[in-house]
């Protein structure tokens, strides 16, 4: 079974002008539920449709229209909860969060403030390899996950006098995944989001596309003196921690790190200057690399949350949850452990191969019935290297798993050398085809016929008596003969066979 060791998150310490400070970070990740229809309507969720093409009457808040919850979205939230080892609440409820904005047609967002569908869970965050090569893993606790509606989009730059509204996104289901303030540094925050994204993609509950905004994070940052966090942990009393600011709508791992770093230093500078932090919402400006105030607490909305009277409490049955649990896919940590155990891969290689589910599936198709380590080397070094170079995804790879497997089979049987295999891979990449047929058609066949090799070895030895003397004195120089033989045979001789024969003939 899984043998994961992890530690508590480690505080990042920033030295201010006067003192040392620690960071405390909590994240609210908004993940768009992978679903064809919206949370409370049958309208499509397809990205990139014409403005206002995917809008049902209820999405546009037409008079008298009523929401009906989409069962599939609920199932996706439950699946996500199970994937994060979280408590599933068989009874949850929807609340209205009231505020006015043109891209919020109802004048309220339907969310789950008081009774979320998922309770406490956890994420084991990978922080990369430690000095011993083993991945450093840290545990971040999840406080809750709730379902809510996304808002639409207001467009202010199309006309000097008017704003435009696109409701395609209005009512699309989001999962808000709220962490405990367990995260202690910018790198941990980014790694947490990356791991969450990886798990959601494995689960198929969110496509994790951060560029399209399908996964975005609100980051709460505060700073405190060393020792304060431990007091908070002991008492759960937030007053031991500093006042936090919330950086809204971050959709890049790099920006998350940069924003946290900037924000922490901004707060430290204020505190060391004798000032105090104002609890507020801030925006990160990636061009200037700084955070800016969006609105302060005084201007903050009073959302007037109350239970949505159009929706009955959401009651689900344990048997239904069990059915979902029975169809859970293998998750990244389990898969990685299996690769290390079954294929003998290193921690690093297993991490790389399991980072994306599609990559792992590809790797397993290549490795099936073959040597796992060789398969891993080829997938990681040749294939991923080439894909990266050409900015292609695994789905766009010109070389299929079956083709790469064919190459590995030719290597395994000794029919082609490693050098030939690389040439063959290049041909497959640019021209396609079946590896065995290409190798045959292009004479890519390494000579293992010992008679032919022996003749070549004998000829080289006979022609180079001086080199023979040197090699007998220093065995390391025998490689020169091997090189000459390979050259003479046009690279087709099996190097292992040549080596062995040279050594024997030279009496080494």
């Amino acid at each position: 079974m899984l043998d994961l060791t992890f530690t508590a998150p480690q505080p990042k310490v920033i030295s201010g002008a006067k003192a040392e400070w620690e960071l405390v970070i909590g994240l609210e990740v908004h993940a768009q539920v992978a679903s064809n229809a919206k949370l409370f309507s049958g309208a499509s969720t397809t990205f990139g449709a014409e403005p206002n093409a995917n809008v049902a009457f209820v999405d546009a808040a037409m008079p008298g229209m009523l929401p009906v919850v989409n069962e599939f979205c609920v199932a996706q939230a439950v699946r996500t909860g199970l994937g994060l080892k979280a408590q599933i609440n068989l009874r949850s409820a929807f609340d209205r969060k009231n505020y006015f904005y043109p891209d919020l047609p109802q004048g309220y967002q339907i969310s789950q403030l008081y009774h979320p569908i998922v309770g406490e869970g956890e994420v084991i965050v990978d922080m990369g390899p430690g000095p011993d090569g083993k991945t450093i893993a840290r545990l971040v606790r999840i406080e809750r996950i709730h379902l809510e509606q996304d808002a639409g989009k207001s467009i202010h730059d199309m006309d000097p006098n008017m704003s435009f509204v696109d409701l395609n996104r209005t009512g699309v289901a989001l999962m808000e995944i709220v962490s405990r303030p367990d995260i202690r540094g910018p790198e941990e925050a980014a790694a947490y989001v990356a791991k969450l994204r990886q798990i959601l993609r494995y689960l198929g509950t969110c496509d994790g596309n951060m560029q399209n905004g399908n996964l975005r994070a609100d980051v709460n940052v505060s700073v405190c003196k060393p020792g304060q966090y431990e007091k908070y942990q002991a008492t759960q009393d937030f007053s031991h921690l500093g006042t936090r600011c919330e950086i809204k709508n971050m959709n890049s791992l790099r920006f998350i790190q940069a924003a946290i770093d900037y924000e922490a230093r901004r707060q430290i500078a204020i505190l060391e200057d004798g000032g105090s932090i104002v609890q507020e919402t801030r925006l990160y400006d990636p061009d200037k690399g700084e955070t800016r105030s969006m609105r302060s607490k005084e201007e903050a909305h009073d959302y007037r949350y109350f239970p949505d009277p159009d929706l009955l409490p959401l009651e689900i049955e344990q048997a239904w949850v069990d059915d979902i649990a029975a169809t859970m896919p293998e998750l990244p940590d389990a898969r990685k452990a299996r690769y290390m155990g079954d294929f003998g891969l290193t921690d690093y290689d297993a991490s790389v191969l399991t980072a994306e589910k599609e990559n792992a599936v590809f790797f397993e198709a290549v490795a099936g019935g073959r040597d796992g380590k060789t398969a891993a080397n080829w997938v990681i070094n040749e294939l991923f290297g080439r894909l990266n170079k050409e900015s292609l995804t695994i789905a766009e790879s010109p070389v299929s798993a079956a083709q790469l497997g064919g190459v590995l089979d030719l290597i395994g049987s000794g029919e082609i050398s490693g050098k030939m295999a690389k040439d063959l891979f290049e041909i497959l990449w640019t021209e396609g085809g079946t590896p065995a047929e290409i190798a045959a058609a292009r004479g890519m066949k390494q000579v293992t016929d010992t008679g032919a090799i022996e003749a070549a070895v004998d000829a080289i030895i006979a022609a180079n008596p001086a080199q023979v003397e040197k090699a007998r004195a220093n065995a390391k120089l025998a490689g020169w003969f091997t090189g000459q033989v390979l050259k003479a045979t046009g690279g087709k001789a099996n190097p292992a066979v040549v080596n062995e024969m040279v050594a024997r003939k030279l009496g080494l």
Partner: protein, 495 residues
């Protein structure tokens, strides 16, 4: 012979099935009556073309022998119902010009059963009011008058147009909605029958929302039998409304056996208000006596939390309304204020809503916003929810003790004069709902039945409250009361 527009649904149904008349003839009679009743201001949108077309289609169905009970029956539809392609404004300026692209479930079921729409009926704006005076169309007028006094009276509210239209025989029946008494109070003020079904019996889809946890649609009819027939056509499961029950709809008309022997009818002592007019007192005790004569057992009961119902209602209903009405922002449909130079989105909201909403709606939106706001939520909204649970419990205990229905007055008075309450404290107007709001808070079915006239010749009604989902039984009790009182009075035509 009775004029066609004066028929009840049951009479018209039987006549249509026998071929004694046609839906088109009924419809024309109603259209003519509407034409001559402008003074009542009951119909605010007229749809004669739709009516004639539906009537012809109904006649074809009747001829083919495929005719549900409501087939060919001309109805008025409260303006709160969204009717496809027909103005549906909830009597508010903020929905000026709004024609929905969809048909409410209730009207869709009625028209599917062959009913005919004569037009849309006046009401209080967003169903907020008890006198129909908050309508953007001006008030509807009660066809009843105090004897020879020509002062115009309210038909009640919010379904005032529906009540006036049915009482004046402008249609055979009408749809109403009831959030705190909006079917039962106007029914009582105009001498007709109105039932608010159990919450969840009738779909709310396509009905402009006032307070979602309280709103229910129901029929407003000339007789109890008609209420049973029409409710059957309006009710039923609807996948588009999560709060609508999956329970099948029984044959309500078949429940009208007239036999209530052995039934226990509760008289709640908390409904005997200080200063209650003697004639209401008498009406109530006469009603109880009649039910007793019919073989029922009259039992004094207690519903101890009744006195908290009105304040709880006037917290819960505005709270929900403040949120439900947030969508009327001028962005997508209805009224949008003309903006000045430099006005932004905030000014657009403020001006649009200030111009589009009348005073009573504004008052309730503000009250609702206040009771939900941070710092006041627990003191008002949460406390009101707790009170609501206690009121519901009061009724449950009574029913558990074997009570079959509860008899109360429907209103604290007969219809009052239009404008009489104009300068009164709004709370005085809210007192109209004192006997009816408990029923909405508890989600129970309640029916108002006309049982007599007051000293000035105005109708008075009694209310029967039933067990949840037992509208059939409740209608049967009402049927007995209706037969026993023999109420047949009609307003003298002055319009």
């Amino acid at each position: 012979m009775t004029a066609l527009n004066q028929l009840t649904i049951a009479e018209a149904r039987d006549a249509l099935r026998k071929g004694d008349t046609t839906s088109l003839a009924l419809t024309e009679a109603c259209l003519a009556a509407i034409e001559g009743a402008g003074a009542l201001n009951a119909f605010v949108h007229h749809t004669p073309e739709i009516a004639r077309e539906q009537a012809k289609a109904a006649d074809a169905r009747l001829a083919a022998g495929d005719a549900p009970a409501m087939c060919g029956i001309p109805l008025g539809i409260k303006d709160l119902f969204c009717t496809k392609g027909v103005p549906s404004q909830a009597a508010s300026n903020i929905l000026k010009g709004f024609r929905p692209e969809y048909e409410s479930t209730v009207t869709s079921q009625l028209f599917g059963a062959g009913a005919v729409m004569l037009g849309k009926l006046n009401m209080d704006e967003f169903a907020m009011g008890s006198s129909n005076e908050s309508s953007c169309y001006g008030n509807a007028v009660n066809p009843w008058r105090r004897g020879n006094d020509t002062a115009e009276l309210t038909p009640g509210g919010s379904s005032g147009g529906s009540a006036a239209a049915v009482a004046a025989d402008l249609c055979l029946a009408a749809t109403g909605t009831d959030t705190g008494g909006s079917i039962r109070q106007p029914a009582a003020f105009t001498g007709i029958v109105g039932i608010k079904p159990t919450y969840g019996r009738v779909s709310r889809w396509g009905i402009v929302a006032f307070a979602s946890s309280l709103d229910q649609a129901g029929p407003m009819t000339k007789t109890v039998r008609d209420a049973a027939i029409m409710l059957g056509a309006m009710a039923g499961p609807d996948a588009k409304d999560s709060t609508c029950s999956d329970l099948p709809v029984p044959d309500f008309e078949a429940a009208l056996t007239g036999d209530i022997r052995g039934k226990k009818i509760g008289i709640p002592r908390e409904y005997r208000m200080d200063g209650m007019p003697a004639e209401i007192e008498k009406l109530w005790s006469d009603g109880a006596a009649m039910l007793k004569d019919a073989g029922a057992e009259i039992v004094d009961i207690s519903l101890p939390h009744t006195k908290y119902a009105l304040p709880a209602y006037y917290v819960v209903a505005p709270a929900e309304a403040s949120s439900n009405l947030a969508r009327y922002d001028g962005v997508r449909y209805g009224h949008r204020a003309k903006l000045g130079q430099g006005d932004g989105i905030t000014e657009m909201y403020e001006k649009t809503r200030a111009e589009g909403f009348g005073k009573e709606v504004q008052r309730r939106v503000m009250v609702g916003t206040y009771v939900l706001s941070a710092g006041f939520y627990d003191a008002y909204y949460n406390r009101a929810r707790k009170v609501r649970a206690l009121i519901k419990r009061d009724f449950e205990l009574a029913f558990e003790a074997g009570i079959d229905s509860i008899l109360t007055p429907a209103t604290p008075s007969s219809a009052f004069g239009l404008g009489e309450m104009a300068d009164a404290d709004p709370v005085a107007m809210y007192l109209n709902d004192v006997f009816t709001v408990t029923v909405n808070l508890a989600g129970l079915p309640g029916i108002a039945v006309p049982t007599g006239l007051d000293g000035r010749g105005l109708p008075l009604g009694l209310q029967l409250i039933g067990r949840p989902w037992e509208e059939g039984d409740l209608l049967n009790h009402a049927y007995v009361l209706e037969r026993a009182t023999g109420f047949v009075s009609k307003p003298a035509k002055w319009w």
